[in-house]
Amino acid sequence: MFKQRPFRGAASFGARRGAHLLPNARLGGPMPWVIAIMVALTTLAAGAALALTHVANSARSELAGGATVQIVNADDAARDSQAEQVVHALSSMPGITQVERVPQRKIASLIEPWLGSQTGSDGVPLPALIDVRLSGGADGARLTRIRQALHRIAPDARIDPQAEWLKPVFRALDALRWLALSLIALLAFTSAAAVWLAARHALDTNRETIEIVHHLGGNDTQIAQIFQRSVLSDALLGSFLGVALGASAIGILSARFAALDSGLAGTGALGLSDWLVISLVPAGAVLLALSTARLTVLAKLGKML
């Protein structure tokens, strides 16, 4: 009966044995649902951050080499003459890849909702607009050189980088992106806090058994592993539900924005790499729950002898 046993040293309990030893180690209760809600919100925030990044990047790259030449002259003939000379001069300048005069009809139709149809030679005078594409970006020094060159042939010409007009829009997009990232950090913190509270409660519920396990030579790591395994099932369930909910919401919103047929909204569509990033959200939530539970349990056990 008192045979020497072939002990292997402190070992981790199997999942079934561990759950059997500490049946209340599961966070249980509403915890999978709390994790599901947090993951769903994080998925949405991550999707929004990625879409906003695409919109901002797309707009920046599109406008980076863009400049607009305006010729402001009430005399139609003088304005058209200057415009033709500007188009001709720009077309022969090095570093300019595209020069296109915007038809006056198109300008009139663009501002019609604000000024009505009485524009052009019969009403409010419209400037001539020339869209210019520069290779390698429309920086200040290049624009100054172009401005000086144009001044000699078209004294009424003004050239502005297109990105300059949209700076407030970029700033707003950046702010929204940071807001989404802050939301993700806040949700991660809240999730960790919820797991921390639940793990402490589960630990208190099992305190008596844990003391016995300690007296019998069980170590903190063995106990923490039992809790981790229990938390794993809750976190997996919650994360799966959460990401399914969040991804569905993103899918519906994407379809709605795509239906707007707006140039800016269309550039925010999520690609495969974005979905791969989003798929990290549930994995991160599971890791966060596991590490929080482990650290909570080990910290609390460390206070016991």
């Binding site: 002990f7 044995r17 019998l216 030579g217 170590n219």
Partner: protein
């Protein structure tokens, strides 16, 4: 410094709970490997507190305790489990895990030590047979009588063949025949080299183990032995009383 055969050594140990006065004072003794000790004393004399120090559930307020050759007071927490696995403890209140069967309670020290399931089934079944509970192995503690729970607690304490067995009133809830049977179990373990410390009120029990050594606690201090009681052990294995 560990002398030959020395397994536990208390030097000038005192214990107080919070700001109360000391429940144990100036405790000096040495336990030697392979000996059988009884710890006696009236209720409230400090037996359970002394045992708590022995099974590393409590750190003393002062003094030094060496166990298996090491100072266990300054020992880091994460090294305590390795020492506890060398001990077997029978708690006065049994401290069985309520939701585990008798079998799983007895198997717990073996599982914690990493023994494979296939290797522990037979020894646990044998041990339950030995304490007369072979037919109750699936029973939860709540469905067992006090005596049966005590036997499960004893089976759990001895199953891993500890180097030091500490038992707090292990025969308090069993009939005289079972008490004797359990004592034989402790003696069998002792013959295999386990040092046994049994705290008991039962003076009849002391006479059943002729080679045992007796420590008597009186109001938190180890009393000098009288008559047949021998403390500290005289002869070649004892250390001189200071």
């Amino acid at each position: 410094m560990k002398s030959d055969g020395e397994i536990v050594r208390f030097d000038n140990v005192g214990l107080r709970y919070g700001t109360e006065s000391e429940v144990l004072s100036d405790i000096d003794f040495t336990l030697f490997a392979g000996r059988f000790y009884f710890l006696t004393g009236a209720s409230g004399a400090g037996k359970t507190s002394l045992l708590k120090l022995l099974y590393l559930a409590q750190r003393p307020s002062r003094g030094a305790i060496r166990m298996f050759g090491n100072d266990v007071i300054t020992l880091k927490r994460d090294r305590l489990p390795a020492y506890r696995r060398r001990l077997g403890v029978v708690f006065q209140d049994f401290r069985l895990v309520g939701h585990l069967s008798a079998f799983d309670n007895v198997a717990l020290p073996l599982r914690l030590a990493g023994l494979r399931e296939a290797d522990l089934r037979q020894p646990v079944a044998d041990m339950l047979d030995w304490v007369g509970l072979g037919n109750r192995s699936d029973a939860r503690p709540a469905t067992l009588s006090g005596g049966e729970q005590q036997r499960v607690a004893i089976a759990r304490a001895v199953i891993a063949r500890p180097e030091l067995l500490v038992a707090d009133e292990p025969t308090g809830n069993v009939d005289p025949d079972m008490a004797l049977r359990l004592l034989r179990l402790f003696e069998a373990l002792n013959r295999l080299g386990t040092t046994v410390v049994v705290a008991t009120h039962d003076l009849h029990l002391l006479r059943r183990v002729p080679d045992s050594l007796i420590m008597r606690l009186d109001r938190g201090r180890l009393a000098d032995p009288t008559g047949a009681l021998r403390y500290p052990p005289r002869g070649p294995i004892g250390r001189t009383q200071r």
